[in-house]
């Protein structure tokens, strides 16, 4: 069949493409444009200002703080979530008793809404009466003011993020583990390899494609999972736990500066483009887009 114009195919694609263009591609272009314009108010006509908004960005200490926070947020959540997900999958796939219950416990956070459960976590973190402080108190340790102290606010958010996503990533490892051949393990055991050696030499390398896939998703989450900020810290104290997407929200809807918010969004888009680039460079395309 020759490749040519195919009206039917385009008609079938029309609803999807028009929706995607209207709410993904077009707003992306509009964001780029808005980031180089400015207006005194929402009703005043906007004018081209070149890179002035970006100059503002460079001079904005909150922006740099947010970027740094986002970096630590990724460093703190991505490897830990992946490691826990692998451990969970190995346990649930192994010979442990009450496998079903355990799998259920690990997976449940995936279907619970972040925002609603954040209320429960808020209680866990509350100074003095909260669960964490009560547990620490029972062994004679005075817990910190988890969410109120700039040193512990961001790590407290990370803990909830890891709790939310590890069980979700476990699923992908579980699926991958079930495709590995048991003969491989029998052979390794015959050779006298211990559990750690088997994991390092066989399981982990064979799980590599899954790890790459999970890595991309974990990195995306590090930028888009900000729901719990609304309940736990609101980015505080003094922006110590503020993240890029939350700062975009604040700038656009609390400070009502859509031009600066657009400039921040461009930074977010650059970050996402970099993640996409990592994905393209690392993935074997044959596996995924055939």
């Amino acid at each position: 069949m020759t490749k040519s114009f195919n009206l039917k195919a385009w008609l079938l694609l029309l609803p999807a493409l028009s929706l995607l263009v209207a709410f993904t591609h077009w707003p992306t272009l509009k964001t780029l444009w808005r980031s180089v314009t400015w207006a005194r108010s929402d009703v005043a006509p906007s004018q081209f200002v070149g890179l002035e908004n970006y100059q503002l960005l460079m001079d904005d200490p909150v922006f740099w703080q947010v970027i740094e926070n986002n970096f630590w947020y990724a460093v703190g959540t991505v490897p830990t979530s992946i490691a826990l997900a692998i451990a969970m999958a190995l346990w649930v796939n192994g010979k442990i008793r009450h496998k079903g219950l355990l799998r259920l416990a690990y997976f449940t956070p995936t279907i619970l809404p972040m925002i609603t459960v954040a209320n429960i976590w808020l209680f866990f973190y509350s100074p003095g009466i909260g669960l964490f402080d009560q547990i620490l108190g029972s062994i004679g340790i005075q817990g910190p003011n988890w969410l109120g102290d700039p040193d512990t606010a961001l790590p407290s958010l990370m803990a909830m993020t890891i709790w939310k996503e590890a069980g979700f990533f476990m699923i992908f490892y579980l699926a991958a583990l079930q495709t590995l051949s048991p003969e491989l393990y029998d052979a390794a055991r015959l050779e006298g390899a211990g559990p750690w050696r088997i994991f390092r030499r066989i399981t982990f390398p064979l799980l590599m494609p899954t790890t790459l896939f999970v890595l991309i998703n974990a990195l995306l989450n590090a930028f888009k999972l900000v729901d719990h900020l609304f309940i736990l810290t609101k980015g505080g104290p003094n922006n110590a736990s503020n993240l890029l997407l939350y700062y975009i929200y604040e700038t656009a809807f609390s400070f009502l500066d859509s031009y600066y918010a657009a400039t921040l969004t461009v930074i977010m888009l650059i970050a996402l483009a970099l993640i996409a680039l990592v994905q393209i460079l690392m993935f074997d395309r044959k596996i995924h887009y055939r």
Binding site: A16, L19, N119, F230, T265
Partner: protein
């Protein structure tokens, strides 16, 4: 040494399981006991349903839940329809520009609507859809993930089957509806469960586009309900939380196996 390692490993597995289920267990504890037991644990704490009554009185849960159900179903219905057509075109039609069309679709996997809240809000304002169910749904009515999943599935339908159906006189939409849709049933189920749990729990975009009870979903309602300013206590918040997550949690517990299978299947593709 190996035995010792084994025990430590098993212990960690259960410990992690307990930690992971802790927030939910606590919510049940606090919701079913009087407020004075919210911060202390006693085997003899009396059971009560008062907190549920109080929570139900303090926030329009019924309205929130209705909004969530309307928004989630609206999105799912549209996604299933739109993604089927696009997935079929990308999987089975040969045409100039297919690569570009597919690349355009995949962009949304990376640039999620949440990222573009600033411009999408302005678009919605221009369309006069702020604070409507449709407004909450619009950016999600087409899903790159759904199109991708269905494309992968439709690709596996044997050509002979399609040819046979064409000999029978089927073509166009009826071919898709009678041959491809039934073949992809597990994919539809998997995708639907993933989509429902995503949109039942979605928060940032609904927060931005809703202003009143008329369209506000449970997640946004709960954020307002639980805010410290509104001065609700932990027991009532826990009861409210259980009301909000109840339907999805029940659905999940009943169809646990399907849920986990679905997420697995959606992930492998």
């Amino acid at each position: 040494m190996s035995n010792w390692f084994q025990r430590l490993s098993t212990f960690s597995a259960y410990l992690l399981g307990v930690i992971w289920i802790m927030p939910l267990l606590y919510a049940f504890w606090a919701a079913f006991h009087p407020p004075e037991y919210a911060t202390q644990f006693s085997l003899f704490a009396p059971l009560t349903l008062e907190n549920f009554v109080a929570a139900w009185d303090q926030a329009p849960f019924y309205r929130y839940m209705l909004n969530t159900i309307i928004i989630t179903s609206l999105i799912l219905a549209s996604q299933l329809f739109v993604c089927t057509l696009a997935g079929y075109a990308l999987a089975r039609e040969k045409f100039l520009g297919r690569g570009i069309a597919f690349a355009l679709v995949l962009t949304q996997l990376m640039v999620m609507p949440e990222v573009l809240i600033v411009e999408n809000y302005k678009t919605l304002a221009d369309l006069g859809q702020i604070d409507t169910h449709l407004g909450v749904g619009l950016p999600y009515l087409a899903s790159a993930f759904g199109i991708f999943l269905l494309r992968q599935t439709f690709k596996t339908v044997p050509q002979e089957l399609e040819d046979a159906a064409r000999v029978e006189g089927l073509s166009g939409l009826s071919l898709i509806w009678k041959v491809f849709v039934p073949m992809a049933f597990p994919t539809y189920l998997a995708y639907s469960l993933v989509s429902i749990s995503y949109h039942w729990n979605n928060f940032l975009w609904p927060l931005v586009v809703t202003n009143t009870e008329d369209s506000r979903p449970l997640t946004v309602g709960m954020a307002i309900f639980g805010a410290p300013e509104s001065g609700v206590d932990w027991s009532i918040i826990s009861a409210g939380t259980l009301i909000a997550i109840g339907p999805l949690l029940a659905l999940f517990l009943v169809f646990q196996r399907q849920f986990i299978q679905s997420f697995m299947q959606a992930g492998i593709k």
